[in-house]
Amino acid sequence: MSNLANPTGLSGATTPPPPPPQNPNLVSLTINGKRLTVPKGTLLVEAAKMAGSEIPVFCYHPKLKPVGACRMCLVEIEKNPRLQTACTTPVSEGMVANSVSPNAISGQNAVIEMLLANHPLDCPICDKGGECPLQDNTFKYGQGVSRMQEDKRAKDKAFALSDRIVLDKERCIMCYRCTRFQSEIVGDQALVALDRGGESEIGTQNGESFESPFSGNTIELCPVGALTSRFYRFRSRPWDLKRTPSVCSGCSMGCNTSLHARDGAILRMVARENPGIDDGWLCDKGRFQTLPPVTALGQVTAAEAKQNRPLQPLLRKHGSLQPTTLELALQRTVELLRGYTAVLASPTLTNEAMLALETGLRPMAQQSQFGFLPYVHTPWLLQGKIANLPFAKKIVLLGFDPWTELPVLALWLRKAAQNGGNLVAVGQHNGLFRDSAAWLSVPQDRVGDTTAELLAALTTGKASAPVREAAMKLTCDGPAVLLLHPDLAADASLLFLAQQLAQQLGANGDTGMLGAPALAANARGAQELAPTIASATVSSHGLTGILLLGIDHLVPQSGAKLAVATSRAIEPRSDVEVVLPMLHPYETAGTYTNFTGQRQALLAGGFVGRNVPSDQQLISHLRTALTHRHAGAR
């Protein structure tokens, strides 16, 4: 060990920073000759952006804690003999930093050379090619020669981390973005760094799959082509993609997305940060499971071909479903809706479709029952903004596990817990168990009793020890959040207790959040724009015909004949009489209302042919057909 005392700042401790400037919250500094004033605590790498200088980075990511691992961002700072990493250095008053001095540039060259020493350089066959920071930085900051004559390290090139993600261990540059995401943002440490030194690599417990509801984000965070999506792999080059802003249809969180399509086929969906909704993350359910089936593309695999959706209307003739015209299909649908029938709509339809359903179609089909599948009505409409969540100090979840129901909401609640908020979960499942101050783990049918006990603990103090302990965590000051599972809200006495508890905690929509959140993608839109339909319960007994609108799966066979309007492949079951092709939400323009009541626009990100109507168009076609029938009948 050698004597590396300060000023290198490597060991021991140093004196605190010099006296602050006039405004203690601002700091003035010079970067690459440009003077500027920035808020105290700003990292040099961010200050440089403000000064119009780009400092190259790999491991740094604004949402993750700085680690200073890759060393790409080396800069020279006056009075400091050692190059410093701009991503870990907070600005200080009078600092003079230079990222383009010969010394800094030689540092950047060195890092690039070291990174490439063992890198396979298989850009031509790499998914990341064309959108790869390593490629870009090598071009801008590297010297273009390799002096490495030893054999490169050989490692696994296509290691299946899970059924969603593949790892190329040779391409990995050990920036720890993926592992930091799983430990800092998700908290499950589902992905870690293994081994050490030059043998370091990313992985899971030997043989276990990388399972986390948020794993897909690591693909986006990876600055090289080391983590790739098994769905998107080898499907396209970045420059061939058309990118369309949209909103996820996986749940009512309303995460913002960008749809990437090639020749009209949507190949992947990535995050499009909305700081008030998704914080830049998507969950795997949304990212991987909501895309429309790939069609119209040469590279469709056999498995995908099987799930291919109908692109033209089908009608049952001589026992099988056969292509027909839209008119005939609509006509048959209208016939099916005579008598004791039902129209069941998906809550993932757009707001425009909801309105058309409630005010256009329903009045024309008075004898049919209308309803949503799943049922969407909540008797306790949610109040409060997502932006309030990180500041919540008391959080109560009653029978509601956001981890699986509204995954990205769980990340916000985790943020609150990290900021010192106390989370108390009551119920059977609690994906946020690591971050919970208390978890009263009871079966769902005991949530009511436990809520009563929790309320008693807070008011009279009479309760069992674990409940009292949990209640203790809720006695602090600060904004409160109380969320009740909408299915449980149907129980009036539990609803009453939950509301009382919310009141006891001082929960309000201005500073916190309270209510029974709508869960399906546009369930809140459904309740707001189609209130009659939303609050109706459909009795399925003895129905003769059912129209399914945008519902992914058939209802159980019951004797009723089915008309199915869908964007997915359907099972050609014998009770299916008509199939009406419909656009997927990602292929239509429209709006969604998320669980907090925020309305957001979807744009058509994919294209499957002119003849397929959107949900809204289809409803209006149906209305027209019904009108004709009425006219005919009259």
């Binding site: 060990m1 050698s2 004597n3 590396l4 005392a5 300060n6 700042g9 490597l10 060991s11 021991g12 401790a13 140093t14 004196t15 605190p16 700085p66 680690v67 200073g68 691992a69 890759c70 060393r71 790409m72 080396l74 050692r82 190059l83 990493t85 870990t88 907070p90 540092g107 060195a110 890092v111 050379e113 070291m114 990174l115 020493a117 063992n118 002096r147 490495m148 030893e150 390290r153 050990m174 720890y176 499950d188 440490q189 589902a190 992905l191 870690v192 760094a193 293994l194 081994d195 050490r196 030194g197 030059g198 043998e199 370091s200 992985g203 899971t204 417990q205 030997n206 043989g207 276990e208």
Partner: protein, 635 residues
């Protein structure tokens, strides 16, 4: 060598066990509750599990992870990082032979060959019955003064110079007995016993930190108290904490772990506000050629405890940690025993000496990773995380263990503290010629000298040459000195013509190197410098944590090039490449390890370029003066 009756731990358990015994599970559950944060229990729990099963197969890893409350992947992460944890079956007794400098050229390689022959297995192999496995390790294990040495299970067997001893050792092992190191004697390194043939003794000095040299048994509490032990603590408790800090500051005590930062100053950075604060004593001692902290802990355990109590009182810490390298099982056991003694007498624990001050000390063992000596990596290790250094700021004094204010000091640094409190700052400053860096210093002398060992002398009172000749009793076989590595293998080699430099920070810096932890490895003229450099880089390549690109990639690259030189496949242009790559690492990485890793390359090329050129030109690679191509004939 005394055969001991206790079986190799866990040997009675079935190798096929897929789950832990109730006893181990209970022990793990206790670990989880022992520390301020449950995650700290992860590493000790993995070690407990391995102790029972012999290695850590997936089912066991998962069981431990579930008991501690971390993800399965997190348990695997640590297991793959630390070299003492194994995911594959491993001999019940690992027989590990150090081949790093100095052991490598002092008989380590010879010993390895003898053990191969005697045990009938090659390095990396395990005997058919699964009992023994043989390992060649580039990691030094802190037995350099008694090299060649071997670690067997948790025990050290040292001074294996005689063939008869090696034969006896093999016989013991094959009979299923573990020979122990208990009873291995220190060389008599008391400063009073100098070379009788030396012309003149440079100084007279009575040791303070190792007053009982050449003792190797532990000093009991009673014995320690008989020599005014714990009186420094009594003095301290009568003062305000701030006064204690001031005294230590005044004494100019500088850290002995390498960076030489003022101890009192470091303590003074700890915020005064209430709240948890931690003292962490760094006993990782993994620098090749360093073995002083081991002797301090094994012998003068109470001196360290008293120092820890005073330091904790000064900074307001109620829970302190002693972090030992994983190999120091014996030292750890002795420290735990001493803590027990001290707690019984009210010298540790609640209400110490009736003052109201309380202190709990955790003894925590690592699991084989040099980087854990770096203070922030050490803190990560304590927190149960992958031990990679943190970037600063924040400094540990502000945000350290569990993000709380933390002081990290070396064992030797802390052992000075009781004496300072007892005798005063002025007394301390007067020890040695230089008031600015004053006090006693233990020099770890190893390599090709007649009497290697820990020599305590005043800082800066003697020169390299005096230390080697008067106390080290000169060179073995009258050999000439090629050079001396002054700070383990982490600082530039000081060539033979610079050995009149004084052994203090300034003196060694004047000779173009650094004193660091003062671990002097003496390299004789006939040893190939190319092989020595290759061996040193093997260490750094093995120990780089892999966080920083230049260190992770660069140490591996440098080592690969040096291997070519060693094998006679170097090219003249490679010398420039070696220097250029060193420059690309040094100063561009997060912790000092990356910098350390380049000095074996740059300094040896600087002073011994002709040897590198010869290794190219002769086409035969690294050759020792006798023409040998390895060190298995030496020592």
């Amino acid at each position: 060598m005394n055969p001991v009756s206790n079986q190799p731990t866990g040997a009675t358990t079935s190798m096929h066990a897929l789950s832990l015994s109730t006893a181990t599970r209970t022990a793990i559950q206790q670990e989880v509750l022992r520390y301020p944060h449950f995650r700290t229990a992860l590493l000790p729990s993995l070690k407990l599990a391995q102790r029972e099963i012999g290695y850590l197969p997936p089912s066991i890893l998962n069981e431990v992870a579930d008991l501690v409350g971390v993800s399965h992947a997190a348990a695997y992460e640590l297991t793959t990082f630390y070299s003492m944890l194994h995911t594959k079956p491993h001999g019940r007794l690992a027989v590990e032979v150090c081949v790093q400098l100095p052991c490598g050229f002092c008989g380590g390689e010879r010993l390895l060959k003898q053990l191969e022959a005697g045990l009938g297995i090659k390095p990396g192999e395990t005997t058919q019955d699964g009992m023994l496995s043989l390992h060649r390790t580039p990691e030094c294990m802190g037995g350099c003064h008694r090299s060649p040495m071997v670690r067997i299970g948790d025990h050290y067997v040292e001074n294996l110079t005689a063939k008869a001893d090696v034969d006896a050792l093999c016989a013991e092992l094959q009979a299923g007995r573990i020979p122990t190191t208990k009873g291995t004697l220190n060389h008599d390194c008391h400063p009073a016993t100098a070379n009788a043939n030396a012309s003149k003794k440079p100084i007279e000095y009575t040791p303070i930190l190792l007053p009982r040299q050449p003792r190797s048994t532990q000093v009991s509490l009673a014995e320690y108290q008989a020599s005014r032990g714990y009186e420094g603590l009594k003095q301290a408790l009568q003062k305000q904490p701030a006064e204690v800090i001031e005294i230590v500051k005044q004494s100019n005590l500088r850290g002995r772990g390498g960076a030489a930062f003022s101890a009192g100053m470091k303590w003074s950075f700890v915020p005064k506000a209430a709240g948890p604060k931690y003292l962490v004593v760094n006993a990782d001692e993994s620098e090749p050629g360093t073995f002083k902290d081991r002797e301090l802990m094994e012998v003068e355990s109470h001196m360290l405890l008293e120092g820890m109590a005073i330091a904790s009182y000064a900074i307001g810490c109620k829970e302190a940690f002693l972090y030992l390298r994983g190999e120091y099982v014996e030292a750890g056991d002795r420290m735990r025993a001493a803590i027990g003694e001290a707690e019984q007498q009210g010298l540790l624990g609640k209400n110490i000496l009736g003052s109201g001050f309380e202190l709990k000390i955790h003894v925590f063992l690592g699991a084989g990773a040099y980087i854990c000596g770096e203070e922030t990596a050490l803190l990560e290790s304590l927190e149960g995380n992958r031990p990679m250094p943190r970037s600063r700021p924040p400094f540990p004094a502000i945000s350290g263990l569990y993000s709380k204010p933390t002081v990290v000091n070396n064992v030797e640094t802390i052992c000075n503290v009781p004496h300072i409190l007892l005798h005063g700052a002025d007394w301390f400053k007067k020890i040695g010629p230089n008031e600015k860096s004053a006090g006693p210093k233990i020099y770890c002398l190893s390599g090709w000298v007649n009497r290697p060992g820990n020599y305590e002398l005043p800082l800066g009172a003697v020169t390299f040459r005096e230390l080697i000749e008067h106390w080290g009793m000169g060179m073995r076989d009258g050999a000439k000195i090629k050079g001396v590595l002054p700070a383990g293998i982490s600082a530039p080699i000081v060539p033979a013509d610079q050995l009149d430099a004084k052994l203090d920070y300034e003196g060694v810096a004047g000779a173009g190197s650094m004193l660091g932890s003062a671990s002097l490895i003496v390299i004789p003229e006939d040893v190939s410098i190319v092989r020595a450099a290759t061996r040193m880089l093997e260490f750094f390549r093995h120990e780089s944590c892999g966080k920083c690109t230049p260190c992770r990639e660069g140490t591996q690259w440098l080592h690969k090039i040096l291997l070519r030189f060693e094998q006679g496949r170097g090219e003249p242009k490679d010398l420039d490449l070696l220097l250029s790559l060193s420059n690309q690492i040094s100063g561009k990485v997060l912790c000092a390890l990356g910098d350390f890793a380049t000095s074996p390359v740059t300094a040896t090329i600087k002073h011994f370029r002709p040897e590198y050129l010869a290794a190219i030109l002769n086409g035969q690679g690294a050759r020792d003066a006798q023409g040998t191509t390895d060190w298995s004939q030496r020592g």
